[in-house]
């Protein structure tokens, strides 16, 4: 198991975090804090001396600026950056074969360690390519990635893809964590739900979440 970096989320997932050799999809609207789950997951991996790869369509400098807002320190222990600018490998959102080749190459070179991959490129890939192309690409990529001791956490934007595309993506991943905003009277509530998780009993509960200096706080949603 790979700790999520958020103790309360680990508890929710049965105590130890995401399952081994799994692919996790975090769904939510822009700005809700999906990426924060990736930051804590990366930080937790770096502390445990896992090989952490951060694959982003942004520059590494921009991601580090966002990371600071969540009180996560990625400057002492740094992930391997696969980014549009400022990383060890340059990411080009239009080059699927290059992405696949580089990713497999990096994983192969670090196959002796436990690997964590965090990425925010999924929405961009879906917008710039046919959904079935990305579906096939991910199916192939995930089967290759799972040959290693690797956990992948990917984020996808809610409201930017047709529902059928989003449903197909959710079907492709082993686990789906959903972050959504709900309207309750005159309040806007951010709620988290584990839609599915391989090896974890299906859960029906919603959790109110908030970000603080200590990380993410989860509380069972009660009206």
């Amino acid at each position: 198991m790979a700790s999520t970096g958020v103790p309360s989320l680990d508890s929710l997932l049965g105590g130890d975090g995401y399952p081994d050799r799994s692919t996790i999809l975090v769904v939510g609207p822009p700005g809700i804090g999906k990426e924060a789950l990736g930051y804590w997951f990366t930080h937790s991996g770096l502390v445990q001396n896992d090989f952490c790869l951060y694959l982003t369509r942004l520059s590494s400098r921009e991601v580090l600026q966002d990371v600071k807002a969540f009180n996560v320190d990625l400057t002492q222990r740094v992930p391997f950056w696969f980014s549009s600018d400022g990383g060890q490998v340059k990411f080009d959102v239009g080059d699927l074969s290059g992405l696949s080749f580089n990713l497999k190459d990096i994983l192969k070179k670090n196959s002796t360690r436990r690997i964590r991959v965090v990425t925010d490129v999924l929405s961009s890939l879906l917008m710039l390519n046919q959904p079935d192309t990305i579906y096939k690409f991910l199916t192939q990529l995930f089967s290759d990635v799972k040959q290693y001791e690797c956990v992948v956490v990917a984020t996808i934007e809610e409201g930017m893809h047709p529902p059928n595309v989003l449903a197909a993506m959710q079907q492709l991943f082993d686990g789906v964590v959903e972050l959504k905003l709900y309207e309750e009277g005159l309040r806007v509530l951010p709620l988290l739900r584990i839609r599915k998780m391989r090896g974890v009993t299906p859960q029906v509960g919603y959790y109110n979440f908030a970000f603080s200096k200590n990380g993410m706080e989860l509380n069972a949603y009660a009206r």
Binding site: G31, G33, S84, L128, G159, L181, Y182, P190, Q203, V204
Partner: protein, 295 residues
């Protein structure tokens, strides 16, 4: 389909108009309203009748801001909330100042509210362009905004500061000529004219960005809706500026003016609310209780 929050907004708008009609019924003719509550009458009536709608819109903007976690998106929500409040204060306070106020007070209020509105609109434009870039699949920088924004901010702050300092100087020294020029915009000095108009030119240039990023945001229906709902407000302001819609001169004019302003308030509320997709709480969600999580 309007949801409960939308219906509340419509009710608040209707109550604004109804309160004026009730006031007229209780106080008599249109002239009586002006005379009965004194020279502050129109100001108070307009402020009270439009305040709930604008406050409600601002409340939703700050509500959305509070629910978001990423600073960039929070800034955009904060920007629209402050725009709603400053638009209301500009319209309610400086747009309808009583005639018996001294030039010092009128100039001070109109200069401060005018430039504050400029500042907050520019703040929102800046945040919106950055959000649009972040949401773009290719992370495209519209017209190199991320490179030019800092110099523009510095120049803007310098010009705002200069004008406010100049206004304060004119207030303290009682320079009525300068005060009059600043409050009316009829500046004689050429250098001062450039400084005075710089924020206006910058804001107009900023406004040009909005349709550009709205077109580029074809991927994101929420951002497009945000811009679409925002669009009527500048359009209404332009109609007011060019006199197509006149200010309140008689009772029917007052009602028409109020309705237009309330429509503006409603569209701004919708603009704030469309920043994020909001889901409805379903009964099933409250049936399945779970135990609190032990960290």
């Amino acid at each position: 389909m309007p949801d409960r929050a939308d219906i509340t907004a419509i009710i608040l708008s209707a109550m604004g108009v109804a309160s004026i009609l009730v006031a007229r019924f209780l106080l008599g003719g249109s002239g009586v309203i002006h005379n009965a509550v004194g020279v502050f009458g129109p100001l108070i009536l307009f402020s009270l009748s439009s305040a709930p709608m604008f406050a409600y819109g601002a409340y939703w903007a700050f509500n959305v801001r509070r629910a978001l976690a990423v600073p960039l998106y929070r800034r955009q929500a904060f920007g629209i909330g402050i725009i709603i409040l400053s638009l209301w204060s500009t319209l309610a306070v400086s747009g309808d100042l009583p005639a018996n106020l001294s030039l010092q007070v009128t100039a001070a209020i109109s200069t401060v509210t005018f430039y504050f509105l400029f500042a907050v609109v520019f703040y929102w434009i800046d945040a919106s362009i950055l959000v649009s870039r972040r949401m773009d699949p290719l992370v495209r920088d519209t017209l190199y905004w991320s490179k030019i924004r800092i110099p523009i901010w510095i120049a803007n702050i310098l010009t705002w500061g200069s004008i406010l300092l100049l206004a304060a100087y004119a207030e303290l020294t009682g320079n009525l000529v300068l005060l009059n020029q600043l409050s009316t915009g009829n500046i004689q000095n050429e250098a001062l004219l450039v400084v005075y108009n710089f924020p206006v030119v910058v804001l107009l240039c900023g406004v040009i960005f909005i349709p550009a990023i709205a077109i580029r945001s074809k991927w994101n229906s929420r951002l497009r809706m945000h811009f679409l709902w925002f669009a009527p407000s500048p359009a209404i302001l332009l109609l007011l500026f060019f006199g197509v819609i006149s200010g309140p001169s008689d009772f029917s004019g007052f009602i028409l003016f109020l309705v237009v302003i309330l429509v503006m308030g409603f569209t701004l509320y919708k603009s704030a609310k469309s920043l994020v997709p909001l889901n409805q709480i379903s009964p099933q969600m409250t049936v399945n209780r779970v135990e609190p999580i032990a960290p």
